[in-house]
Amino acid sequence: MGEKTQVGAGARTGDGARADGGAQAGGGARDDTAEVIIRLTNLHKSFGELSVLQGVDLTVERGQVVSIIGPSGSGKSTVLRCVNGLEKIDRGVVEIEGVVVAAVGTPGAKPAPKEQIRAVLAKTGMVFQSFNLFPHMTALQNVIEAPMTVKKIPKARARELGMEKLRRVGLDDKADAFPSRLSGGQKQRVAIARALAMEPDFMLFDEPTSALDPELVGEVLDVIKSLAREHMSMMIVSHEMGFTREVSDRVIFVDNQKIVADNPPERFFNSPEHPRVAAFLDKMLN
């Protein structure tokens, strides 16, 4: 966390803090009681000989949008994938909504019972760079598959829910189209609708627009922006600097297996403290 400001007396409720936007002045400092939704502690991860993360600490509060940027191969995707268990961690603790979903080599931290972990992971949505839609299902079928098979929601209700989510991403007219008939931007919006259909508490986006033609990037970013307006908690890996700046509450820079910077976007982009960040931004923005 960037800010360590303590609020002396009169702690307010978590909801109030968000309304102040990014204002950090005086008494407007972020509230202590804001609920931490994701907490990574001393995360280590390597692939064989290759060490990718070495001691990553990171918290995300409910309603926050946290962007992760950094050079290619620096471990941005790995951070996200460690959060929802797609990668096994080598050391450290991963907590989601207070439930320890992974703990390795950390005295005093023990993973919660399997059922509890499953329940909390089920509230984690993820959107991939390569969409990963099910090619043998229509857009609507993609969206209602998990609600039906995992949550056992009856078909009629699931269809209503699915149509609502497709409308949410502006694709209710494509409900019966197979993925092969959709543009990249439409595919990614279906993928977002599919994740939303599970009513997640937070969403992980791993370069959601990197596989898209430039003219299709906007429609996907607009959907994510609308989620931010509704206070969906999100972790976003993206190379879209303008978008990152606009949508994020905090921007995190990953390099050399560590978090190098963690700041509100204004500070991050206007006065980068770390030379690595400055060099990176220089390259990205010019």
Binding site: T124, H136, M198
Partner: protein, 228 residues
């Protein structure tokens, strides 16, 4: 004996049918029984080979290696003539069913495994992050995609299986090929060969059309998957 030559093909074959029919029955019975036994076996083995524990995978590797690597005739002979030395005496039909099923399933296991691993990693990850468990993932996402890629090579395997039923003669079973051979040697005319040739070819066409139909049914509900 050569007087029979004057008999026309159809009349001759009808005359020989009472003998030939036993061989035909043997071939078909073996064929369908093996399909029935081997189909679930190969699906299970393929899934286990992809995602089972290490020891199970090693065992299955040994199995497919041995059965795909040695001639079917040799497998049949080893079991039929060799097992009695171990105190195991099986009827020819038992030997045929067991060995043919294991042999066919060995090939089909590899075919299905190929289909399963052709489904991208991203599909599994999508299921995983949606909270689907292993069986839901297999049943709803992996198998439906794998099955379409598995159909064409499976069709070939099935055609080969029907032709390979002729190898049961090595363990003293009379299939239609062997029966025809007997008739030809006895009567010194090859009409019986022509008859069984027709049956083999017909069966191949039938198999192909059944599989084409399956492919069409699947493609009707499932469009081509260029780019998911």
């Amino acid at each position: 004996m050569l007087i029979d030559d004057r008999l026309g093909f159809w009349q001759y074959i009808i005359d020989k049918m009472p003998i030939l029919i036993n061989g035909i029955k043997t071939s078909y019975l073996l064929f369908f029984a093996v399909l029935l036994i081997a189909a679930p076996l190969s699906v299970l083995a393929a899934v286990a080979k992809v995602s089972g524990p290490r020891a199970v995978r090693a065992l299955l590797n040994l199995y497919t290696w041995a059965f795909r690597g040695s001639p079917l005739v040799l497998q049949l002979s080893l079991v039929y003539y060799g097992f009695p030395y171990l105190g195991i005496v099986w009827q020819p039909w038992t030997v045929a069913l067991v060995v043919f099923s294991l042999s066919f399933a060995a090939y089909e296991t590899e075919v299905i495994r190929g289909g399963i691993i052709s489904v991208e990693k991203g599909q599994y990850e999508a299921c995983r992050v949606l909270g689907m468990n292993f069986f839901q993932t297999m049943r709803r996402v992996v198998v439906p995609q794998a099955i379409r890629r598995v159909l064409p090579p499976t069709c070939s395997e099935v055609i080969i299986l029907f032709k390979d039923t002729s190898l049961v003669t090595s363990i003293a079973l009379m299939d239609m090929m062997r029966t025809a051979q007997r008739i030809v040697i006895m009567d010194l005319r090859i009409d019986a060969f022509i008859a069984v040739l027709a049956i083999y070819l017909l069966m191949a066409s039938l198999t192909v059309s059944v599989f084409h139909r399956l492919e069409r049914i699947l493609n009707a509900s499932v469009l081509k998957e260029e780019g998911s």
